[in-house]
């Protein structure tokens, strides 16, 4: 890096209050022109607030922001865009049913005179932009809803380039992408950097920040803890800055050798079909690895809800036994009664009722459990008192925050939502656990707790099928791993043979 690079953005003592709450307190840091700058911190550390101030969504209450060395007051997002600042939000702001082209030119239409849109002119302009920045894209006339998530993100980036943004803010851009899409994204970002664009990357994934940024600013509790040159720091240091204490990334607790494993154990679960066949032994964590979209989702759905998905994904042709009992097309309630617990893939869309409180969410799936219900004059009634007591016990046990049970699930951070889902999973003491992406979008601190909880279950002799897109997580926790490719089980690894390189090859189809 240039020893004295020009500064694109500088924060000087910027603060933002909401009432008495300091969302940002005296932030000071600078972003070099033509660099990729990471902004990291746990959920609620104030990263997003800082970027909203920069993008003109909320005004700063104190301090000033300098763009290219000049102090500016950014009034609103339109003003920010005029100053060359563009933002890709975590949830894309695209009109789904309109074409890519129309989405991109929206607000900046090339027109003959107002009202007549010159689509062909726009098309050549966009092609030139893509060529200039080495982006591969040509689906201009496809409606946005028909694009993959990765492509939609690329559209957002092209849109910023079309608006001639010099500084691109990306809010958690990889949270929604597959590993391959992540690679492509960062290849593209590097090219943009070479062309002189400045990129601010909001993230809480340390690995990608270390790999792809030039410098990184760490925030905690609304304050800047420090800014580091990426090549001079490491994962442990950043994590400690983020969380405020030492954090371990690998499971440090005991991994018991269970007596059941020593003998040739009888499987507790068997699923046999033409494409996928697995057996699950007592006291083991079986990992399911694979690039997203290779049949893991379908397999998990069929396992956890054969009533709906057994027919849909396996045409009803499968043999599914738990503890020697035929499952057939049982529904999730029946599976629960047989000791199965589930953490679904997508927390918000599959596991939670966002506009209901913790107690209601805790009851989801347990709403017929006799521990929390009783028969009354109007049918089976929920015993809220008992449910609430159980929730409060679990808030303590899992350190869920905020710690009052009346908060809406949608208002909790990702990590705390996941702790609630884990608490609900373990509450009926299941003996077979299907757990998918337990740490996706979860803070470093919460990851540790969740991993401990999963291993604790295993060490108690429970059996776990762990679906994850993080290979490190699987290698760390699992006793055995199957790799999915093209809808099939394509390979199997015992713990002693866990080799990331070999596993990745199988994930790619080798």
């Amino acid at each position: 890096m240039n020893p004295n690079p020009p500064v694109a953005i500088e924060f000087k003592g910027v603060s933002k209050f909401f009432g008495n709450f300091h969302a940002n307190r005296k932030l000071s840091f600078s972003v070099a022109k033509g660099s990729i700058h990471g902004l990291i911190g746990e959920n609620g550390a104030g990263k997003s607030t800082a970027m909203k101030v920069l993008f003109g969504v909320q005004p700063a209450d104190e301090g000033e922001i300098l763009i290219n060395g000049k102090p500016v007051v950014i009034r609103n997002p339109v003003h920010a865009m005029k100053l060359g600042i563009g933002m890709v939000h975590q949830h894309f702001m695209l009109a789904e049913s309109e074409t890519v082209l129309d989405n991109i030119v929206l607000g900046h239409e090339p027109a003959l005179f107002p009202g007549i849109l010159l689509r062909n002119k726009a098309r050549t302009q966009l092609a030139r932009i893509c060529e200039e920045y080495g982006l591969k894209f040509d689906k201009w006339d496809v409606p946005v809803r028909d694009l993959s998530v990765g492509e939609q993100q690329r559209v957002e980036i092209i849109k910023l380039l079309y608006q001639q943004s010099d500084v691109l803010i990306l809010d958690e851009p990889t949270a929604v992408l597959t590993p391959q899409e992540v690679k492509e994204l960062f290849t593209n970002l590097r090219k943009l950097k070479q062309e002189g664009k400045t990129i601010i990357l909001i993230s809480h994934k340390l690995k990608e920040v270390l790999e792809f940024t030039d410098a990184v600013t760490v925030m905690r509790r609304g304050e800047v803890v420090g800014t580091k040159v990426t090549s001079e720091t490491n994962e442990d240091e950043l994590a400690e800055m983020m969380v405020g204490r030492k954090v371990s990334f690998t499971y440090q607790g005991p991994r018991k050798i269970l007596s059941a494993q020593a003998r040739e154990p009888k499987p507790v679960l068997k699923f046999v079909s033409e494409r996928v066949s697995i057996e699950l032994k007592p006291g083991e964590i079986l990992g399911v690895a694979g690039v997203q979209g290779n049949g893991q989702t379908e397999f998990l759905k069929a396992l956890s809800n054969p009533a709906v998905y057994g027919e849909k994904y396996f045409k009803g042709k499968y043999d599914y036994h738990i503890n020697g009992r035929e499952i057939g097309d049982a529904d999730p309630i029946r599976l629960r009664q047989m000791g199965v617990g589930l953490v679904p893939e997508d927390r918000l869309s599959e596991a939670l009722l966002k506009k209901q409180d913790m107690t209601e969410n805790f009851l989801l799936g347990q709403h017929e459990d006799p521990r929390y219900t009783s028969w009354g004059f109007l049918g089976r009634m929920i015993d809220r008192g008992k449910a609430k007591a159980a929730v409060e016990k679990n808030i303590q046990a899992f350190d869920i925050r905020p710690s009052f049970s009346t908060v809406w699930a949608g208002r909790m951070s990702g990590g705390n939502q996941q702790k609630l889902v884990m608490a609900r999973l373990l509450d009926p003491q299941p003996s077979i656990l299907y757990i998918a992406h337990p740490t996706r979008g979860v803070d470093v601190g919460a990851i540790e707790k969740i991993h401990d909880a999963i291993m604790h279950e295993r060490n108690m002799g429970k059996s776990v099928i762990l679906f994850s897109s993080e290979l490190d997580e699987l290698i760390d926790l699992c006793d055995r791993m199957v790799v999915f490719f093209d809808g099939r089980v394509h390979g199997e690894f015992a713990r002693k043979d866990f080799d990331p390189w070999a596993i990745e090859k199988v994930m790619g189809g080798a």
Binding site: D331, P332, S349, L352, L353, Q356, L364, G379, R384
Partner: protein, 346 residues
């Protein structure tokens, strides 16, 4: 308590806003707003009869308000209250025809009420089944079912059980054992213990919705279908059940009308109760207990409509409808207040 006050604040503010706008309109029309208010108050509370009539107008709205509020919890918008109440009323009238030998009022009333509930319920169940099995949009199907119900009840009234001694389009009257007794103090207004029963019904539905497993299932489906399915709650069942229950509630309007008032099915008896029920549910903001005051307010306006027409020079019946519309707008504009607050914070 504080939370209750807060939740009441916005609808009350909306009502006051709508009412003030309406009074401005009357003022422009050349009528003193004070007089309009006085007439509205007099006509609703002025005498036992007036109050009884206000309650009589409110009662069907309580039921049709429920018919909208229950399926909303499961994520469905029931626009079919009108058709469901027609079918319920027809079923109640028909109960009187087949059960003409039932002498015990208790049995007769229970029988007719059950029939009314079933009539409306089954009529509501049809769109529910179509939604669950075929994915047909409930707004479309319930509207269609309204037309079919109107045609069907008119056919049954005119050709199957028409009262041969009447020159009007009405069915054979139900026998006296089917009659509900009004309160004497209402001096002829056709409303008695039924209004108390309806209020109890609302409280029961409210309690049931928040504390029963089935109510929980409905709410889970309404809030997040995918999550509900993942945890073993059938959205199909929730949809069908909520529509059956909603239809049944609307069907009970038949009890108010047939057993309480005209003692027969009269074509065109409903003053758009099914549709006003949508406004009632809207005003109650999805809160089931809120249906009671909301229905009462609309009852006042309906009762007042006739009096305004008679007792003022410039204000016609239509103005009452304008007031209703403005009140709905006032309540809906609550989003406006929030938007302004946001703009101020930013």
């Amino acid at each position: 308590m504080k939370r209750l006050m807060k939740s009441l604040l916005k609808p009350i503010a909306g009502v006051l806003l709508g009412l003030s706008l309406a009074l401005i309109v009357t003022w422009f029309a050349g009528e003193s707003p004070l007089k309009v208010l006085k007439v509205l108050f007099q006509s609703s509370f002025g005498s036992g009869y007036d109050f009884g009539m206000t309650l009589f107008y409110s009662a069907p709205l309580i039921l049709t308000g429920l018919a909208v509020s229950i399926p909303i919890r499961a994520g469905l918008f029931n626009v079919g209250g009108e058709g469901q109440l027609l079918m319920g009323a027809m079923a109640a009238a028909y109960a009187g025809v087949v059960g003409k030998n039932i002498a015990s009022p208790l049995v007769a009333i229970a029988f007719a009420s059950g029939m009314a509930f079933l009539g409306g319920g089954l009529w509501g169940l049809i769109p529910g089944v179509l939604k669950a099995k075929r994915g047909s949009h409930e707004v479309i199907t319930t509207i269609m079912m309204n037309f079919i119900a109107a045609g069907l009840t008119s056919y049954v009234t005119l050709y199957l059980i028409k009262d041969p001694e009447s020159s009007q389009a009405e069915t054979i009257p139900v026998p006296p054992s089917f009659h509900l007794k009004p309160f004497e103090s209402f001096a002829g207004a056709p409303m008695g213990w039924l209004i108390v029963a309806l209020i109890v019904l609302v409280v029961i539905v409210h309690y049931w919705m928040w504390n029963s497993v089935r109510g929980y299932q409905l709410k889970a489906v309404g809030e997040n279908e995918t999550a509900a399915e993942t945890y073993g709650i059938s959205r199909q069942k929730a949809w069908m059940f909520s529509m059956f229950l909603a239809g049944g509630m609307a069907g009970l309007v038949g009890v108010v009308e047939v057993l309480g008032n005209s003692h027969r099915f009269k074509l065109g008896f409903s003053a758009d109760y099914g549709f006003v029920g949508i406004a009632v549910a809207l005003l109650a903001r999805g809160n089931i207990l809120g249906i009671i005051p909301a229905a009462f307010l609309f009852g006042i306006l309906q009762k007042g409509a006739a009096s305004l027409d008679l007792e003022t020079d410039k204000v016609t019946r239509d103005l009452s409808y304008i007031i209703q519309g403005l009140i709905i707008l006032g309540v809906v504009s609550e989003g406006l207040f929030e938007w302004r607050k946001k703009a101020k914070n930013a």
